[in-house]
Symmetry: D2
Subunit: 287 residues, 4 copies
Amino acid sequence: MNIGFVGLGIMGSAMAANLLKGSYRVTVWNRSAEKCRELAQQGAVIADSPRAAAESSDVVIAMMANPDAVRSVRDGSDGIIAGLASGKGLVDMSTVDAETSRESADLAQQKGALFLEAPVAGSRKPAEEATLTIMAAGDRELYDTVLPALEKMGRKIMFVGETGSAARMKLANNLVMAGMLTALCEGMALASKSGLDEAQLLDVLDSGAVSNPMFRLKGPQIAANGEFPVAFPLKHMQKDLRLALQLAESVGQPLFATAAINELFKAALAEGWGDLDFAAVGRTVRK
Amino acid sequence: MNIGFVGLGIMGSAMAANLLKGSYRVTVWNRSAEKCRELAQQGAVIADSPRAAAESSDVVIAMMANPDAVRSVRDGSDGIIAGLASGKGLVDMSTVDAETSRESADLAQQKGALFLEAPVAGSRKPAEEATLTIMAAGDRELYDTVLPALEKMGRKIMFVGETGSAARMKLANNLVMAGMLTALCEGMALASKSGLDEAQLLDVLDSGAVSNPMFRLKGPQIAANGEFPVAFPLKHMQKDLRLALQLAESVGQPLFATAAINELFKAALAEGWGDLDFAAVGRTVRK
Amino acid sequence: MNIGFVGLGIMGSAMAANLLKGSYRVTVWNRSAEKCRELAQQGAVIADSPRAAAESSDVVIAMMANPDAVRSVRDGSDGIIAGLASGKGLVDMSTVDAETSRESADLAQQKGALFLEAPVAGSRKPAEEATLTIMAAGDRELYDTVLPALEKMGRKIMFVGETGSAARMKLANNLVMAGMLTALCEGMALASKSGLDEAQLLDVLDSGAVSNPMFRLKGPQIAANGEFPVAFPLKHMQKDLRLALQLAESVGQPLFATAAINELFKAALAEGWGDLDFAAVGRTVRK
Amino acid sequence: MNIGFVGLGIMGSAMAANLLKGSYRVTVWNRSAEKCRELAQQGAVIADSPRAAAESSDVVIAMMANPDAVRSVRDGSDGIIAGLASGKGLVDMSTVDAETSRESADLAQQKGALFLEAPVAGSRKPAEEATLTIMAAGDRELYDTVLPALEKMGRKIMFVGETGSAARMKLANNLVMAGMLTALCEGMALASKSGLDEAQLLDVLDSGAVSNPMFRLKGPQIAANGEFPVAFPLKHMQKDLRLALQLAESVGQPLFATAAINELFKAALAEGWGDLDFAAVGRTVRK
């Protein structure tokens, strides 16, 4: 199976490199050519357009930053879709909304090709170490075909349903993350105002059944209220909370806690903290 | 240092046994004598009243189920206080409210004795394996004296401040736990109503930065919506949420998310689920 | 000034009749011709299409049930827009979203015509008695021109800003209504569960500074929990709450109370009460 | 029927004057004697202690500022209780909590006397114009006896149940008031941030079914965000919200909207606005 790989950012470069290590033949394309050259040294072939990457491959993977970036490499005369044909497959591993995925699925289908949305959970390090979690949705047949390749990039791979399901799964995942973090922020604010030591609270939490890496990472940042290193921008988390509430509304599920949490994120946005890490909601909580 | 140990329930028995293993001389008392005999086989001396346990020891530890039980062994002519004297110490490892601890501190002080509240986080297994987390508060001098003994019973021991601080620390800890669990319940309810597989959501969560033992334990219980094994009754968690909100009010800290979460727990109580595990709040969320 | 009037439902018929009483020349169109004949008896001319109503008038008023109905009389070869020309004006008195209004404004402008959105507050009786409240927004020049005619239909007429502002004003108005009603429902539920007489609470409220017609009308319905006569369907109120929260998000305004209230309305919708009056949220509150 | 009247503040003076106008024989006592002299000019007899006022009357009315003030005239050798005897009655028209009322009822009963709690809704002007709303609870027999006298002071008099019920009724009433005001504040904040004119929103609200005196009074104050004249201090309203939530908890009634509203009031308190009028919550909403 020849694989095209479009989008060589921090994540994409590492993922394509892992495919090469796994002995796949990989044809790459990236807006900035420099990243292509790095991959070429590891054995990749360089395509001169997303379309060319698709034409020379059985399956083309896209790994772009957002829906607009996906459209920019997907559509148009030089786009991936233009290079698809019957029997080929498009696997979009970018994090996009369900709408964008359904568009991609329709466009692929019109060319007789198959489509899979396959967003990942995890950041640079898991990408390099091939320990990503990959949630795939769409054409099951394509999933079965590309599973061995996905296993070169991630540790936990799962098929979650029809196109759009992976996007929804990420919303549910992010809702839980935002809720956990807000609970932590409220607990820490209460501790602090009550004359307790927040570091000790973090210690207590970490020594019990709720111990988790996110609290270990972000707890001290929240206590310091400093310059949160941006793992996931607050404005993106608030957008996901909004989308989760809209999805909940459409399926008749009230979410009382999430609604309150969303307002806290909105208040943080109104303070101008949208580009900080989402842990900056702690500032709003302790105001 | 001779240690008195009053209260040999599931937790107390294991803790006293660990003190004996650590070569302490331990004098025990329990309402039901049978538990005393088990400890005697491991080397304990049996006292015939809480007072006697205190009289024959340098430091007496109480490990009772709730504030009323503490008072029953603490007060009266056969109570621990009656056996205290200048230079002795009382360490209450029961989970009680700040009010009860301050009472105990006052009563000990009137006898010239020192006092420490030292509630534990962790249940039967950590008690047996001596891996409890112990939050101590009150007289620092007594803390320094008993620390070697506490280290026989727990793995993480911390001094968190003046009397009452340990009770407040537990409230902050429980607030975070309730918030995390509610976030999980809302995420799972959203997943379920959106046609996603809740087990897969649990898988995604467990493969990322929020992975934690509580989700692994309770997530499948919530999905099954069955007969939650009671680790911590819902009515006790709701009581702690109420106390946390009261504490927050007294220190000027709004808690928007916790307030919403408390209403969900109240709704669950109103449904009659107070004696179930607190994970039963998931039933209320998904109604 | 000749006036075209499109849409002779309960509201439109009464409003057009008031224009006729005010000595305006009115050309009417309605999907069902019977309503036209009633107005003709009061002096109206009957047009055979929305376009004809616009062609024969200086200003054409639309009074339709919802955005789709507006589009059905506005667009196409027989629609109002087709009958507009430079110097004419379109006044849409239907309750529509800001988006639909901006579409209408654009379409009118392409024909050189002016546009005003002018939704009304009030139902059948105020329409008949010409005591409606009319919120107008869009072209100020057109507002000044039609003000004398609007004054034949309403008692309080105000110009609230650029196109879309009237729709936003209705959202703010409905947000307050929903909040008031929910506060009433929670107060009544508390009274009832506490062994108080809800009718007495309504009496107390009505004898003080918060006395208002909505409480007098809906309070007894909520207490009876019967078959709420539908003044404003719950599903429409929930939609307005959602739109208000979206608007608030776009302008950086957190709305903690409204977010909680919206979840209560969503819970009521999930129970299947969307077609009942919005006072049915009281059922959800007291569950 | 001879009436004792203890407490001649702004409210009490006006109420006692209305009893005198109604031809009752009234014996007054007040901490500051000057107020007594004003009443004496209108025909009142002056007592030299609360006890004396009770001894010389069939029924003694107390109208104090708060529970502590009630206790100061009720208890002790010069207090009202000391002057009660079998067949007499005590009517406490102060606003107190249910606890204080039950204490008063017990103390009166021990002297063979009857007790009524009868807090009022309304401020100075209704007190002067005898248009207060009076909620009475306790001994029905005493209610029937004093009703003619109550009718000299108020326009709407109602018996709401056993001792404590009137206090609970006030909580339910205040919960609704706080909810209405918060809904208004959120609507106004949304209007303002969306470029609408808040005065126009107030106009729209006032021309519809939700028109009420509180919005007319406080709406412009909230828009101006100035020095709210204090009709009811924010800290007292927050206390009532807390008590209402506690009552709700004790009777198994979740209050999602009120819980969020209470947090807004707590946030306002934390800002230091407790002594401002409760309309100052508008500042917190629009932050």
